[in-house]
């Protein structure tokens, strides 16, 4: 049985009592992630998000955030998933970066040099100050609605990148069917974390 058949069996049998957006999307053949239904970001904000994501996870010997489609993921989460409060913090953070760039460098964030953008984001990190997410809670279990802009940006970039196909398979090591267990395995043999 393939996945589509399995989904059909579940949905078909349960009728309207099982409405599950993911299964609906899967059955409709729609992409199950990424592009927001209706972006709440302006073109200028999307351009900033693209540059910022790449600042957090740049292309190195492996692909970076842009290669991994992280800007689209961030747009999707901010537009479709965030609460109004979260979105307000995120958008205010973008505005503040823009205002700071104009004031400090005399041009918009996008027009700034790499070093200037880097400095502007470092300032945002300093402003986030002593904020620390709840210890012991994984990034996927919950996102803190009230975290400052810098953590929101960093968090979305990290989630988007390491759960993307390139992030999970090229930057980290992906092996969905290991076939055996070795609990005394030298890290040097693999050299990177498992994403699976």
């Amino acid at each position: 049985m393939n996945r589509r058949e399995a989904l059909l069996q579940l949905v078909g049998a349960a009728g309207s009592s099982l409405t599950c957006p993911w299964i609906d999307a899967a059955l409709a053949g729609a992409p199950m992630h990424e592009a927001p239904a209706q972006s709440q970001l302006t073109a200028a904000q999307r351009a900033m998000v693209t540059e910022l994501a790449e600042l957090v996870i740049p292309r190195t010997d492996t692909p970076g955030a842009i290669d991994a489609g992280v800007p689209q993921f961030i747009d999707h989460i901010v537009s479709d998933w965030y609460t109004q409060g979260e979105r307000a913090i995120f958008l205010a953070g973008l505005s503040e970066l823009e205002v700071y760039s104009q004031k400090q460098y005399g041009r918009g964030f996008i027009e700034c040099s790499h070093a200037e953008r880097n400095a502007a984001l470092e300032r945002a990190e300093v402003q986030a100050g002593s904020y620390r997410p709840t210890p012991g809670v994984g990034i996927l279990a919950s996102l803190d609605e009230h975290s400052p802009f810098f953590f929101k940006l960093k968090q979305l970039t990290v989630v988007g990148y390491y759960t993307s196909q390139v992030g999970a398979t090229e930057e980290l090591a992906y092996n969905p069917v290991p076939g055996r267990f070795d609990g005394d395995y030298d890290f040097a043999e693999i050299g990177r974390q498992w994403s699976s």
Binding site: M1, R3, E5, Q9, L10, A13, A14, G15, L18, C20, P21, W22, I23, M32, H33, L55, V56, I57, T60, F73, H76, I77, D80, W81, T83, N118, E122, E125, G136, G138, I139, L140, S142, F151, K154, V158, V159, G160, T163, Q165, A168, Y174, P176, V177, P178, G179, R180, F181, D182, G183, D184, D186, F187, A188, E189, I190, R192, Q193, S195, S196
Partner: protein
């Protein structure tokens, strides 16, 4: 509507115990109907098995509105997320009543296979001490059976489900029919060595789990992918879908209907026996009576109690088989949530290969001999735990900055952490109970109301669970130790027991030593509802063994007499 066929047996529920009842009864030649309230599903039809994260919507971030509206209880269950959502109960459609100050997590599935799809798979035998506990200290009623009565059935079940584990040769955790054990990782091995040296008599062993390390029939051994709860087409862990239901189907004697929620059992008052099972189709709302000679209630502890309580008649105004007045009372869960975690330094060059679907286990070490331990509680607890290095989901915010150096730093796993959580025995209290509420559900069935709280014995035991976890972590050289001192709210361990307890005396218990209702001899309750105490080990193996044992008894009575039932007692 009434179905013309009379079945030999109707089994309510298709999960851990329902699957066993179906297998055993059909293999004894009985024509069996299994009724499952959940959606249909067949083995292999697991929509998220091996699906990579980038194909999950929102990368599996919580679907906040959906969870808040429809899964406000289930969202707190271990293993609940978007990869398993389709298996869980919809809380809005299937409500129950919680009393202020007495919260209860009723975690339920809504699919053929039930919680056997997502169970924790730890499989431990009760010990002689566990069966004797009620009789020894006077809490609850004495079990009418002992270890020797169940031991051959434990073997029978273990051989079929496949349990990998290590034989220890200790009385508190009797050995079984084991496949080769999985292994501890290097950090857990060090923990074991240090703990066993510092605390003679305590054992750290790999969990005994119903995950195969060798092929068994058509089922393959574990490939260590990790998230068992999504379903396993290889059948590498035991579920009713992968194992007992196919065995039942092979006999040609099985009929299984999904989307059939049982409302009540229909009593022939004159004969004192149940003659039919009344069910509603969850999609069409059509009502059907299924005529039968025998009923096996395997709907899960609380669902079975709800059916019995809702089967009211002139003869049984307080619920079927309730002459004793104990129906719904003495319900239990495991005292769970207390323990500790710490950092295990010195293993920075070590990692792991493969995702072991198992933990270590520390068998009960408290109160093994009367008066030996200076503790202020009775009975005991065990721990499950594991060591794992923090991954990027945990370290992303501890590493400051951003950019190429940050990315490089995140490539490495973080510190090795060792976690351990206790599972403690909860005593049977008469006023820990479930009753029918005046509110009804979408089918008109009265909702179940939970009135369950923990008492001093559980509180004192929980504190010891945290303190001893800290002591063992310290002995193992852990740093940054974080204690967990608060219990989870009742229900969270999903180790549900009681409410139709087993006993010798019909005046104080609901079922006899064969899981047969004292008052209605053709009704058997073989899921967790039959339990008179909870022990501290994971329950499912015992439920399965009792189910197989009861099925043998029921089948032999049917074979010998053509029916089950002696003249009912009068009130």
């Amino acid at each position: 509507m009434s179905v013309d066929t009379e079945f030999d047996a109707v089994v309510v529920g298709s999960g851990i115990t329902g699957g066993w009842a179906a297998k055993e009864l059909t293999e004894h030649g009985l024509k069996v109907l299994v009724l499952e309230r959940g959606k249909p599903l067949t083995h292999g039809g697991y929509p998220t098995e091996h699906v990579p994260p980038w194909e999950m919507p929102g990368r599996n971030l919580p679907q906040r509105a959906l969870y808040a509206n429809d899964y406000f209880v289930q969202r707190n269950a271990r293993g609940f997320d978007f990869t398993t959502l389709h298996f869980w109960n919809n809380d809005r459609e299937n409500p129950y009543v919680q009393v202020p100050g007495k919260p209860f997590n009723w975690f339920r599935t809504d699919v053929v296979g039930g919680r056997s799809l997502m169970w924790g798979r730890h499989s431990y035998r009760w010990s002689e001490m566990d069966f004797a506990a009620n009789g020894r200290d006077g809490h609850g009623n004495d079990w009418p059976i002992r270890y020797r009565d169940v031991a051959p059935w434990y073997s029978h079940v273990e051989r079929f489900i496949g349990v990998s584990g290590e034989a220890l040769g200790i009385d508190v955790l009797p050995d079984g029919e084991f496949q080769p054990p999985m292994t501890l990782n290097v950090v857990e091995q060090a923990f074991k060595t240090r703990v066993e040296r510092r605390f003679p008599g305590r054992h750290v062993t790999i969990g005994r789990v119903a995950n195969l390390t060798e092929p068994l029939g058509e089922r393959k051994s574990c490939h260590y992918c990790g998230p068992c709860q999504r379903g396993c087409t290889a059948g590498a862990y035991f579920s009713s879908l992968s194992s007992t239901l196919p065995a039942a189907r092979r006999t040609g004697n099985l009929t299984l209907l999904a989307n059939q929620v049982v409302e009540s059992l229909e009593l022939d008052g004159a004969r004192g026996r149940v003659t039919a099972v009344r069910a509603v189709d969850t999609l069409t709302r059509e009502r059907t009576r299924y005529r039968t000679k025998v009923v096996f209630l395997c709907a899960s502890t609380f669902a079975s109690l709800q059916i019995l309580l809702n089967s009211r008649s002139e003869r049984f105004p307080g619920g079927l088989a309730n002459f004793s007045g104990t129906l719904g009372r003495f319900v239990m869960d495991h005292n769970h949530g207390q323990g500790a975690a710490g950092v295990m330094p010195g293993f920075e060059s070590k990692y792991y290969y493969g995702n072991r679907p198992n933990t270590f286990y520390i068998p009960r070490f408290r109160n093994l001999e009367r008066g030996k331990d200076e503790v202020e509680f009775i009975r005991g607890y065990g721990y499950q735990g594991l060591a794992l290095p923090d991954d990027w989901t945990m370290t992303w915010h501890r590493i400051p900055g951003f950019g190429a150096d940050y990315k490089q730093a995140l490539r490495r796993p973080g510190r090795w952490m060792l976690f351990m959580l206790g599972f403690g025995e909860v005593l049977p209290y008469a006023d820990n109970r479930v009753v029918l509420d005046s509110k009804v559900d979408r089918f008109g069935t009265p909702q179940l109301r939970f009135e369950v709280t923990y008492r001093d014995n559980e509180r004192l035991m929980g504190l010891d669970m945290a303190q001893q976890a800290i002591a063992m972590l310290e002995a193992a050289g852990a740093t940054d130790i974080l204690p967990f001192s608060e219990p989870f709210i009742p229900g969270t361990s999903i180790h549900e027991y009681g409410g139709a307890r087993m006993g010798r005396d019909a005046a104080t218990s609901v079922v006899n030593e064969h899981n047969q209702c004292h008052d209605v001899p053709n009704v058997f309750v073989t899921d967790g509802a039959c339990m008179a105490s909870s022990a501290c080990v994971n329950p499912s193996l015992t439920f399965m063994a009792l189910t197989a044992r009861a099925a043998e008894y029921a089948a032999s009575r049917l074979r010998d007499e053509g029916h089950i039932g002696t003249a009912p007692r009068s009130t």
